[in-house]
Amino acid sequence: MVSSVVKEEEEREGIRGLGHLAFIAALVAAAAVIFGIARLIGNSYAFFAAYVVVQYIVLGSAWNILGGYTGYVNFGITAFFAIGAYSTVVLYKLTPWLPLPAMIVVGGAMAALVGLGTGYLTLRLRGVFFSIATLALAVVVQTLITNWDFVGGARGAYVLRPKLAPLIGGDYVEYLFLVMLGLCVAVLATARAIERSALGYGFAAIRDDEAAAEASGVPTLRLKLVATALSGGFMGMAGAPLPYYVTYLDPASGFSLNYAVNAIAMPLIGGTASWVGPVIGGILVGGLQEYIRVTISSAVNVLVVGVLMVAFVILAPQGIVGLFQRKRR
């Protein structure tokens, strides 16, 4: 019996090994189809709306690497997101010739470094205490940026968007959307790779019982630092194109509470245990918000997220993915 189970599992592992390349290929194909459809619609609003949804998928997936996989709830999302955005503002002022993807890499690296640093200082705190520390981080970073004249301080900074998109032609927002799709492919491929690796098992062990994880040989502090750096880095990357998207960035919009609420709500609603959760949550909530913003009002969409979040916490704490998994078991 044992041998048959082993064989079955071996086959599954084999499929997985091949599967990751196929998975990335499928993601790229899906991204290409989505981009193609957006181009067919040919309306620049479609790009603006789709950009926001994809940005939230990236942000939610990034949050989920720390919050979902290791169970450390980070409320300081805006700190990382805005570090990415403001590093683009700085680069725009210093080296405006730098292509956007390079700016994104820099923004991500800055946010990852901040993640590493704050992680080192705060990861000895557990549960709600860690969350409060990350909340404080958001306030500290916002205060610093508000008082930093070079990036516009409280007045904000203007970033002039080129008229035409490089490489692909057309409106610049099409390029922004394409870049964001690329980021989305990167974060989803990373998240799925983590889930299936030793790193993912280590994260899950930390989430379930940290002392038992240590006793099983898991270097918990190091793994948590990896998680905060990755999570922070991707959040920074999600924020890096923002100045070009909004063209005027001030602290109030860069540190908007909406980003924090959505980045947590989307994985919670979709399901935190796997990479699919933030995608489902992002499409559902992000799409709904965009719809409501256009049809009803831009204030109501915040209410909708709140109501959805409360409903899911009570009725389906494992999110939408959890609902399906429970049926299968």
Binding site: V6, A198, G202, A204, A205, D209, A211, A212, E214, S216
Partner: protein, 244 residues
Amino acid sequence: MSALLHVEGLGKRFGGFTALQYVGLEVQPGERLGLIGPNGSGKSTLVNCICGTLRNEQGSVRFAGAAVNGLTAHQRTRLGLARSFQLPRPFGSLTLVENLRIPILYAVNSRSGHSLSGPAILTRCLELLGQVGLADKAHRLPRDLTQIEMRKLELARAMAAEPKLLIADEAMAGLSHAEVDEILALLIRLNGQGVTVIMIEHIMRAVMAFSQRLAVLVAGRKIADGDPKDVVRDPEVVRAYLGE
């Protein structure tokens, strides 16, 4: 032959409360040591200090010839010092096989000359589950287990780290007569495979059947250490358990 575990002058305080005071303990390779003591005598604190879950303020712990004082718990596990927890602490969101996968990925694979990959890890996990009689529940979650199965999982996870020394912290508390025998047989079998075992237990029948040597902790001090038959007749030990 030098001792596998050498604890000397160990002291641990929690604020004003002295949990352990000048505790010394030596365990030889291959030995089966029983550790008893009334509730609150510091047994679990001693385990925590040996395994690195808690830091001792005084004294030293040497394992396999090396001082492990400054090492974290996971580093000690990697050196070959594994423990089971008094209250089972399984990884609740992982299946039984996945629970065992953690120490294999992080303890066994961290040692040089050892690296199991995908299918080999699974074979090893199933083999371990087979040893503790949980093979048919390999793909279930810990919440589906009964109390004794949970204890077995806890032991299997400690065994999965392939330790030189296993510390079983009250692995039998609350189990029935037959279940105690089952765990006892498991620990003795493990010892037969060359693993040194320290058993912390209240069930004297099991302690006497298991131990080659018995140490007694009372109020943070070791008051006896020696042949089990002599130790249980020691007047000080009798007084600690039964009063004057």
